[in-house]
Every structure is written in C-alpha cells, then in structure tokens.
C-alpha cells in the first residue's frame, strides 16, 4: 500500500473533476479524520512555492489547477495547437481533397449546408488553393488542396489518399455489400 499522501495526490490528479473529501474517504476506505489532515498538508505544500499548478479547493472538492495569473501564457497552447479541425472543416476538406477541382456550390450541395465560412478558414490556414474559374456562367472559383495540406497529412502526393474502395475493404460487412473487385491485397499467400 502506498503512502496515504501519495495516493491522495494521485487520486486528485487523476480524477476528471474536483474530488470531494467524502469521495476520497470512500476511495481510500479511511475516515475523514485521517484524510483531512493529509489534504491540509498538501494544500499548504502546494501554496508555498511558485509552481505551474497548485491544489485548489473548488466546487466542494479538490483539484490541481494552473494558477490564474498564467492564463495569458496558457492561451497560446490552444492557438497553435496543430492538426485540429471542426467537423465542418473536416467535411469540406475531405470533399475538396477527393473531388478537386470543385466549386463552393458543389461542396455545399454534398454537405447540404452553406460552406463559405469553412472554405474561407481553410484558405486562411493555407490548406486550399484556387485552381482557376470554372467554365460555366458565373465563373465560380474552383478549389483544390495545397502542398501544405499534403505536408500536414504526411502524404507525398494526392494519389496517396486512400480510395474509398480500399477504405471499404477494411470493413468486411461493407465490402460484401458493395460490388468490389476481388481484393488483391487479401490474397497474398505462401
């Protein structure tokens, strides 16, 4: 059995919400009288030094938190978090990647929703490029993916994108439902 202090620290650290004293006592199978002094000690220890995080009393429980005054610096963490897309952005990007050259209207038709904002933000993120204007009345812009898109997804070239056939082949039930050609990959033998 680890030391009580170690265990309390770990429980509070690992829980995904503030841990109440009661819950802690339950987890530890110890009475409050035994648990409370250890928490008091932890609270004191974490308040003394200048640290990146401290033990906070919050919502009737205990939780490790970053100090409020670090907020402005921590905000940077979310700013340049790489590789994150909203569902909408991912859908638009997927359609453009697979259907390029493609117009905004075509993306919107497939998604069934206005996609102007999403396309704009993908352009700003340098993931798309304009491939010219479509030769139809109104001359709408045609979009495709950029070199940066390939880099971000670790692809050498567009042809490296999985085909839908390959994708479906990973799903046995689906593969049966679709009229697929015999899968050469699956046949390799001795």
């Amino acid at each position: 059995m680890p030391e009580l202090r170690t265990l309390i620290e770990a429980y509070i650290f690992a829980a995904d919400a503030p841990l109440t004293l009661d819950r802690l006592c339950l987890l530890l199978e110890k009475p409050r009288a035994e648990v409370r002094p250890v928490i008091e000690q932890l609270l004191a220890d974490y308040s003394g030094e200048e640290r990146g995080f401290y033990l906070a009393e919050v919502a009737g429980g205990y939780q490790f938190r970053t100090a409020t005054e670090l907020g402005p610096w921590l905000r940077k963490l979310s700013k340049d978090r790489p590789f994150r897309f909203s569902q909408a952005a991912l859908e638009a990007l997927a359609i453009i990647a697979y259907r390029q050259p493609v117009t905004r209207a075509e993306v919107e038709y497939l998604r069934g929703v206005d996609s102007g904002g999403v396309i704009k933000s993908l352009l700003e993120k340098n993931l798309l490029r304009i491939l010219g204007k479509k030769d139809v009345p109104g001359r709408p812009l045609m979009y495709g993916t950029s070199r940066h898109f390939l880099e971000l997804f670790g692809l050498r070239e567009l042809q490296d994108l999985p085909t839908l056939k390959e994708f479906s082949a990973l799903e046995p039930e689906l593969a049966e439902a679709l009229p697929l050609e015999p899968d050469k990959e699956g046949q390799t033998d001795g």
Partner: protein, 252 residues
C-alpha cells in the same frame, strides 16, 4: 491423443499450430507432420460437429498441412535442384517462428500499463483554453477519408454519379427541362419532377440546379410550403448557347 481446444481461443491457424506443437513438446524445427496434421484436423472436425463456423483461414491451413505431409512421403531424390530439395516444412516453420515473435510481443504489450487504465495524465483544462470550439478533433488521413465516406453515404451523390455516367445525362436533362419550359409562362416544381424513376428524378433535379446556377431559369415560391414555380429567365432565342457537354457541367 485428444486435445481439448476450442478454435475461438486462437487468433488464427498459426496460433493453433503453435499451441499444438507446444503441448506435444515437439521441436519446432522438426515438426512431426503426421501427428500435427491429425490433431489439427481433429480440432477443426470438433468445431464442425458443434455447428460452429470454421473460418476460411483455418481450412486453408488444413490444406497446407495435408500438402506438406504428402510431400514428405515422397522419396527425396538427389538430382533435385536446391529449391525443390528444401524441406517441405521450411516455409511453415519460418512463418511459425516469425508469428511467434509477434505473438510474444503482443503478450508483453497486453501487460503494459495503459493510459487511462493504469496510468492517468492530468485532465485539468484551463478555462483559458475553452474559447476554442469544443467539437474540434485531431485528424489524420483516416479521419479525412472517413469523413468523405460518410458524406457520400448520406448524400445521394453515389447513386447519381454512377447513373449519370452510364445511363442518364445531366446535359440531356438540362435540354429536356428547357424544352418543357419553352413557350410556357411557368411550370410547377411538382410537374417537372413527375419522373418515372428515382435516377431520373435526381438527374432532373441536378439539371434544374445547373440551370439555376447558369441563371437560365427562375425558381419562385409565393409563400412557405407553397407551390414552387419554375420559369425561363432568358429569351427563348438565347437557349441555343447552353453548354451541353457533360465535362462543361463537371459531371463527366
């Protein structure tokens, strides 16, 4: 000798073979083919008697074992070239050894402490980070393909893309819609979509969309849920200039 084993306990035919070799305390480099084949077939037979599906891979291995067994019964002649003279079991032994290495590592991996099962990382998210949309996900190529796959499943595109290519042409239907509108003040949405088949309907709809995009026709509705009316937006003599190639429309 009867060995009580159940197929579903094995990750595959190689796994089952390794088990049989081990329980028989056989040397993997000198597998007794007759004995092993007999036991292997016995396990499979048991499964069949229990009416359980025996996966194709297990049957394939049974065939391989029988083949090796029969080859070992052939007299070895000295003038055979090197390849044919190889021990018939060699390929199987290589595969078993190779498989065994990964099976062992897999067993080790099973004992690894896992994040969120045995080990926890801090789960506190500072409020400062909340301003980012909550539904953002970290993605890779797989997620991208999956998204496209999903879209195609929910959108009717797959149907009409095939249809257009093989049977019905959007360009043709652009012409048809125009013809039906020619000489009329307006025509109702319902009338124009009075099509015999779903495919026809979709292509007609696409053609209508194209015409709206090209500003060749107008779509009007007096009130919500009211009748939708289509009418020509151009002079009838301008109709000659409609691009009629599929490529021009982008559906080819």
């Amino acid at each position: 000798m009867s060995i009580q084993v159940q197929l579903q306990n094995f990750a595959g035919p190689l796994d089952l073979l390794l088990h049989l070799i081990k329980t028989n305390e056989m040397d993997i480099y000198d597998i007794q083919m007759v004995e092993i084949t007999e036991q292997y077939l016995h396990v499979i037979e048991q499964m069949k008697q229990l009416d359980l599906d025996v996966a194709g891979e297990f049957l394939l291995m049974a065939a391989t074992l029988l083949h090796i067994k029969s080859r070992m019964l052939l007299p070895v002649s000295e003038d055979l070239d090197e390849e044919e003279g190889e021990d018939p079991r060699a390929e199987l032994v290589r595969r078993l050894l190779e498989y065994q290495r990964y099976k062992e590592v897999a067993e080790l991996l099973a004992e690894f402490p896992l994040l969120d099962r045995d080990i926890y990382a801090s789960s506190f998210v500072p409020t400062e980070l909340f301003d980012e949309a909550d539904d953002e996900v970290s993605v890779g190529v797989f997620q991208l393909t999956e998204a496209f796959h999903r879209i195609l499943q929910s959108a009717p595109t797959e149907v009409f893309h095939e249809v257009i290519r093989e049977q019905l042409s959007v360009a043709e239907h652009v012409q048809l819609v125009l013809e039906r509108l020619t000489g009329k003040k307006r025509i109702s949405f319902r009338e124009i979509f009075n099509a015999p088949s779903k495919q026809e309907l979709i292509v007609t709809f696409l053609a209508t969309l194209e015409l709206v995009k090209m500003r060749m026709i107008k779509v009007e509705q007096a009130n919500e849920f009211g009748e939708i009316w289509l009418s020509l937006a151009v002079d009838e003599d301008e109709l000659e200039q409609v691009p009629l190639q599929e490529e021009g429309l982008g559906y080819a």
